[in-house]
């Protein structure tokens, strides 16, 4: 297991962590001030400054990417399927332009939440089938341009409205069906927030192996959690044994960035430099 205590070489910042404090260019400047070497930007933040300007700012700062957030939201009614497909192809094109190593997929829950206006449904089994079909279709395009797709299983709390893939096992089952040859084009993005509770998580990480482990995200689970979406904790402030999970992915040969992604009303209220200083300190002491 790598020693993170001496520096933050392997810290990547998911830019949603400071989305309220500035635009993507300002976030990149802040990363440069703090010696952060990688980011994972969100599509809306890239769009906010324009793709070309984002590409230039990332290049000028010498930043690497640890992923691109996000593709997915595949579930919809029939009228919106082409829109969904085209939207996800654009995500791949943008990821390519930005030099991202993968597109992170948040797959969508029930169609009425994934693509607003879709006919409401309570059939989560149908949603799951639709997700798998859509990933298969997206994977064909991803293969043409060489852009890996990382399925992110989301905590079951988000099954209805954000992602109906809720365990590492489920995500890997899809990977094995759609990419039995382990081409490197399909894998998982594992965020400790979403997987820490799962009694099978360690065995599923072993099953994934290095080929399928495309991204590793950290934050913490607070008790109590005051908001279902935007009360994630800074590493060390909650109950997750983060180091045990990092040890498990590294035991499989994962050697990429440890990406900090915190959706938090509390941290969004803090000055960006304070947030980044805390991220770096916690990366060295508890990640």
């Amino acid at each position: 297991m790598r020693d993170f205590s001496a520096d933050h070489r392997w810290l990547s910042l998911n830019t949603a962590t400071v989305r309220k404090q500035g635009d993507l260019v300002q976030i990149i400047e802040a990363c440069a001030r703090h010696g952060i070497r990688a980011i994972d930007p969100w599509r809306d933040q890239v769009a906010g400054v324009g793709l070309d300007r984002a590409v230039r700012a990332i290049g000028d700062a010498g930043l690497e990417l640890s992923g691109y957030c996000r593709g997915g939201m595949f579930t919809s009614d029939a009228a919106r399927r082409r829109e969904v497909r085209d939207d996800n192809r654009r995500a791949i094109d943008e990821a390519k332009a930005l030099g991202a190593p993968c597109v992170v997929l948040v797959v969508g829950g029930l169609p009425q939440f994934s693509r607003r206006g879709s006919t409401p449904s309570r059939d989560i089994g149908a949603a799951r089938a639709q997700v798998e079909d859509a990933i298969a279709e997206m994977l064909a395009y991803a293969g043409e341009v060489g852009m890996p797709l990382a399925i992110e299983p989301l905590h079951p709390t988000y099954a209805a409205d954000r992602a109906c893939i809720n365990t590492t096992r489920q995500a890997l089952d899809i990977c094995d069906r759609l990419d039995p040859g382990r081409t490197g084009l399909l894998g998982v993005a594992l965020d400790v927030y979403h997987i820490w509770w799962d009694s099978e998580v360690l065995s599923q990480i072993a099953r994934a192996g290095k080929d399928r482990l495309l991204a590793f995200h950290v934050c913490d689970w607070l008790v109590p959690t005051k908001d279902m979406l935007n009360d994630r904790g800074m590493m060390g402030d909650g109950v997750i044994d983060i180091r045990a999970l990092r040890a498990a992915v590294e035991a499989q040969g994962f050697c990429g960035y440890s990406e900090i992604e915190i959706f938090s009303n509390a941290w969004w209220d803090q000055p960006i430099d304070d947030v980044l200083r805390t991220c770096i300190a916690r990366h060295r002491t508890v990640v």
Copy 2:
């Protein structure tokens, strides 16, 4: 599958659903007014009126019980283990006095939340091992008096603070290890709120079979959910395909009560007769 549309013969009221509106005797009187034939009372509500008075009120009203809530909260530090054991034995004794068919077990999460004052831990694996040991111990006493124990897997949202058994598979794995002979003394209490998201739920219900299906609870999952604990929905107001889950348990031969358990700040603010009228209407139309 049973037809619930004509009456509410198989409706049971978990008394937490109206815990803010009156004491247990007042709740029992309200059930009598509405022709509700079964309840599942909570220990604190029984203690609030006294066990003897609760036994008399239930008998006088001719009510059956669909369970007794709750035993468990097994996780603690070493200093509290005897207290935990004795507390759970008292739960069994009370259940016996009340004529309950089973004690529902909410097993506890990390020790500092399960039994306040316990030494904090992030080791959920250790918590799970402790839970299994404690259920084994409790089962020996339950066997002496003939009181079945129903492990309730709780939604992963509660893994840290309420229950580290979070899937039907996990609960059944424990049942199979501790009661391989399927004596009827150990099984599961399945609440649609906790299990609806699980991609394995239907196959695990089939695995459980009639022997292990000791209780079936209903409410609904609201989107958005505004409070992690106390924003559960009335059946029909959320996204759960309740009837599909009831069909699955009944396909295994389950023929007990459909127990309504709603923790909801919104419904606790309503008059008790309005809540019960709505429960009955929804039981007939969407359960």
